[in-house]
Symmetry: D3
Subunit: 313 residues, 6 copies
């Protein structure tokens, strides 16, 4: 299969792509045409059907997988596909994994690392809490392994939530060793749980968009409620510990303006906030660098509120 | 009984007061003495036992009710009690209602108004939700009727939470009539529920201080969880409505910086935020005016970030 | 008459519309054309004259009423009129009321409610002040009844200032009853007067744009000066009361950053600020909902700094 | 007369001072005493009457001029007067000019410079406006020459308003020459008028405190209204020019957060804002340096949000 | 030569212009064309080569000087050149001074004024420091005389850095006379040195863009390091004076948010900050006025966060 | 020796302490006394000499080591020493290490870890730069090993700068392994160098206060200049690398408001900013916990803008 990231001016293409977006329009001269966005796991590209009523163009819809025939052209410096033929495909003709962005790491291995952390837990209550999610709740496990960590910005791909969660847990593991005042079991637990609300805040791929509850409540409160429900089923779970776990989740964005209803009041909440933020920003910059073939300055980044530059080797 | 607000310079007093605070100290000349704060429902006053080891001074502790004999003096323009005799009292010698700040309104009548709003509810689901709290949960009802709405600033007295809740519901009732786009049942429901988390955020009088969960989670999240628990027990409660109710609670402070993890996204959430804020500020200014015998300018108020002035008749 | 809000793709139209905007341009191929915006009281729509020099196209100008013949097409998902014939109309051929946005309420009835509030005023000085504007100053009355309350956002239509003023006065009337510390006469007076400066800040419809003084001074200061002029003509108007009235006007935006040179220092100023803000935001959301046929989420609103959603029935 | 700034530990004093403040109090041992603040034009000092009922202590009140006998002592590193004798004086026994802070410059000469600027004015309308204040309104002239420019911070002395006004006008005169796009007559006029509202915002010395209107309206709006009244009496004063003059006054604090209801929109408003701010800050630092005998670092200044240091010679 | 600012619709042009920008593109119909920006010292204009492969179009590149033949047309209300002939010119055919924006003042005269200030310096150390830059360092002098003071906003032209520096020094000279607490030698010195880092922050014309070090370090730190290097070569330069000079440079933006790592702590630093800001804003408004033929309101300016208006004569 | 942290009410003491502060004062009754602060490495305590002229009290000064005889009393709940005898000691009578706060870790071992990082450096230029400081510049090494990292808040003790630097380098080492896009040599280098300016920003113990240059320039700019000086002595040090090193130092506070003149533009600058902030906050909370014997809530912390709580075991 010819991936979108490898398209070059004047290429002829003839492969199956996911239709991310589709809109009818007319040119300034009044001629109707169709405006599309094609997607595969390597990216997206604009496409136009200039003759929508011609013989080779069959009917299809958004999120269909469609066999596209056409050629690549450059318009205002941007590549674009001029579509000559389009045929809607049946399941089986394509592998969905080719069309959705996915982590470059091994999902099974990453999940095994999560389970290792749970295995090592000394607090019986925290261990039960984590097992209730990551071992016993198979529906949660399935969603957690597939979710992205965001619509965009960083870890916005299948397995992204797992990858981000593990990175944060690893960094917290380092911090717990370096700063002995930290309660390691508590910190590792909230690292593993901090973003579980995202399994309900964002819908599945290929949509990967905010759900109703995602917009009304947000993943911080959704996740806190998920934890409360599990805790209610664990006999004698200490109230003080429950409050500490939930506080760390509520405060993990660190500042009110980022949607945390509480500021970190425990050393574990402070550590989680830094670990989450550090991983998010370093991964975001890594993805930013990967998305550009340029060396040196990449222009202004809103996330970093600065022009950013790739460091030389 | 001689109330603290009526104390004047040179008065002799001989009555029972609640000991709010007690600390041992020594004068600059090395003489030990005791520093107290006496409280009744009309206010508090500093008191000193200059001769703590004299015959008339019995042993007592913070939050005891103590028979105080002594005289009122003025020190640096502030009144102060010089204590000559002190005797710890037994239950029955005093009426606790005389010693705690309490709403000036009738608690039974106010609570009846709350029940009226519930009676009028057309949505069967919202009605069941409200009944689950205000009718069936007697422990909640008991706490709700007694709680204050704050440690200080406004409605910081027994019945204050009920008084504030009813004022907000009344204002929301007006708004629902004036702005037909508002879903009245939803707005009245969230008005009645918006601060229920305060029954767990603050401990009972006479302490009336933040609880552990109050500090770690805050009344916004505590209240949202209380609602989720009740909703889970109501068959077929619509998920969309549940999301709307909880969103209004989460967003009722209006701004991230005031601890709301979400900004108002529904017209009912906008209306609740204004009603809550309007009642809080108008009651706060009313209490500020009542606390000063001065006419005209009362000096700088941090809450209003301005010098404030009593309007003339 | 066929209103703009009812236009659908492929409709043929032949009616009189107000020309809101007109600009000459050339296509990428160098062909000249005219770009227009047509307006009636239901909205606006883009229109193009692709053959500006053809026989059916007469000369006309911005703010003319023009008989338009043509057809509706969809371009990039947006409707547009392709104009074939255009003829400038004479006064009498059209009713201006069809072309300007206007309140859906009865202007006479609303103004009668304003006069009722003045009738009920007990303070002779405030009553004289209000009469000086709303009864004796016929030029002011005429402007006040027709003004909008804003260029956009909320109440941006003929009668909008009156509608907003009355809503604020009604809410203030409720607050004065609910919070007895409020001086009702003072609060109702400043509610009626708070935005009178807008009669000079904005020019008349159909322009409805900022005047020179509107931009240089703003309606808060303009309104305060209008009040000072009237007060100067009322014998023995108490200086203290004059200061209070003007303070409420100056502080009614509540925060420096919204153009208030003073923060509310009186309880009536606090109440007016909340009433004004509550009406503005609830009306803005009502208009936002009315402007969209969509149910559910309407996307991001800058005014509310949030995605907003229509509540279900 | 022995001025307060020259008091040293162990000095005996016997002179007349203004009583700025007076309060009755009792020592920790219950002994009553009087706490005073004495003032002359060189500063203030705390004083105590330890034996208020002794023979040499006559009755007097705040703002009385009192013949004080006593000695200077050092308490916690601060000088203090121990008062042994006190006698209230009659007018004629003292010269008020010795007791109030006053500009170190010549008031007549400064006022002559103001009149020179008016003399040079080419615009007949602006000239008439300035004459209406600075020549024809003798009550205004008298107040303007005596007012301070602030309660504290900078120019907080008799003649301070005149001194600040002239400094700002001089700097504006420089700017009008250096930047030819500036309308010099307009800029000089608004420089002379920018703070005239302070004659009503602050009461006269020795009180020098905010008036009722000062707190409710502020000097920016008061001054704008004073200008409107004078303009109304000048035949044919151009409306456009009137708007420009008033805009410069309204915008002269530059930012909403400093109480300006408008931001500078004219180059003259920008220039006035900078000239006002530059003079205020440079004079404030000059006064700060003069108030300390220390060399080098003077500690944290809230106005400059920094530790500040005297530059070496 | 026909300057760009004099181009009118339908003009034919045949002159040499600098190519500021060049990009290949295709029309919606698939036809390739070239999009250019032409520049001379009076401004820039868009240009199109609709037939890039025609006989009259020779090959050229960005920053070449090219003989352009074509005609001016209006597209969407904006002028544009339709290019028919294009020929790359050799050095000697054109005068670069005609193509770059340049100060309207005399560079030699301005630089002489700078030298005069140095001549008048009484402090031997500051005099040596200034001479080390403005007299002995010929490479610096050459760069300083040619640099702009900014990419845009104000003084964004050849000689702009010199013009801005002299204006700031002149204003500082005024302030040093008006406020005797200021150390004049120090203030004039830091005025002359405050923006020298811009000679390395921005590359030369015609690029005039941020250098690598400009983006990574900024002109404030670059300038401070340049001063440190020169000071290291002056025997016995007092450490205290060196700290004061460098502090004024570091603090000259006045606020952290504008990139100053320190807030002004010396009166000279306060004065320099105001002088720099005043000149920048008054020059920016002057340039804004000059760039528009309109009278009256010029629309919203982000720099001034306000609509701005030309004052009438 | 009896350390200050072990003092209890009624203890008699007779040991040598460092005099941190000394001030003469008089009681309200006019009796002179001396107010002291005693210090050893475990803390400080107030002390009073009520009879300064008695036989046992010899003359001494601030920063002297003095043999103190007296007793511990409790005043307003705070311990205080009542001094009966005081004798100034000679060098040799005491060990200064007992009197200054010092890291609890081994300075030699920590410094060896720093040298290990340098040893492992692959970039010859960065290795030379680090050696120029940490190996060849013995004066720097001596200062660096002894400096604190702050006046207060965190690492405010001898060896604190070394301890903080090593912690940040260790965390950066972890990050460089976890995020392969990071240039490890660059990140470790800037971690080791990021706070070297503090050796000149703060004076030596026991003063440990801001120096002149510390206040005027700050450690960020001082450190950048120190690096520039060393780089200038390394032949062929690449300009690009020099810019990157200095940028990381300049941006390491992350935000303008914390004194960084640049925001992080390189991934190494982002990582350094997080590592520095994480270590500072976790160490600050660790020190806060250690400073209080209380369990649970410790009250409001300005640094964390929240009440903070020790987590349970």
């Amino acid at each position: 299969m010819k991936y979108i990231e490898s398209f070059r001016d004047s290429d002829n293409i003839s492969d199956i792509y996911l239709i991310k977006h589709k809109q009818s329009a007319v040119t300034k001269n009044g001629k109707p045409y169709e405006s599309l966005i094609l997607q595969d796991k390597t990216g997206t590209i604009d496409a136009k059907i200039w003759e929508p009523n011609s013989a080779g163009i069959e009917d299809f819809d958004v999120l269909d997988y469609v066999q596209i025939g056409g050629s690549v052209t450059s318009f205002n410096g941007t590549l674009q596909v001029s579509v000559k033929r389009a045929r809607k495909c049946r399941e089986g003709e394509y592998d969905p994994a080719d069309y959705l962005p996915v982590t470059s790491k091994n999902i099974d291995e990453m999940f095994a690392s999560v389970l290792n952390y749970i295995e090592d837990m000394k607090s019986p209550y925290l261990k039960q809490l984590l097992e209730a999610f990551f071992i016993k709740d198979t529906e949660f496990v399935s969603a957690f392994r597939k979710s992205s960590a965001a619509k965009a910005i960083h870890h916005g791909f299948i397995g992204g939530l797992l990858e981000h969660t593990l990175s944060v847990a690893n960094l917290c593991n380092y911090l717990a060793q370096a700063y002995p005042r930290i309660n390691k079991d508590l910190l590792i637990s909230v690292a593993l749980l901090h973003d579980i609300g995202k399994t309900k805040e964002l819908s599945c791929f290929p949509e990967n968009d905010y759900t109703d509850d995602g917009q009304l409540l947000g993943h911080i409160v959704i996740g806190t409620e998920m934890i409360s429900e599990k805790i209610a089923q664990i006999p004698d779970f200490p109230a003080k510990l429950a409050g500490e776990v939930k506080h760390c989740i509520l405060a993990h964005h660190g500042e009110y303006e980022y949607g945390s209803p509480k500021k970190p009041a425990l050393i574990e909440a402070v550590a989680l906030n830094f670990a989450d933020n550090t991983d998010a920003k370093l991964e975001a910059m890594t993805e930013l660098f990967a998305s550009s073939a340029e060396d040196g300055w990449l222009g202004y980044s809103r996330l970093f509120d600065s022009n950013v530059r790739k460091t030389g080797e």
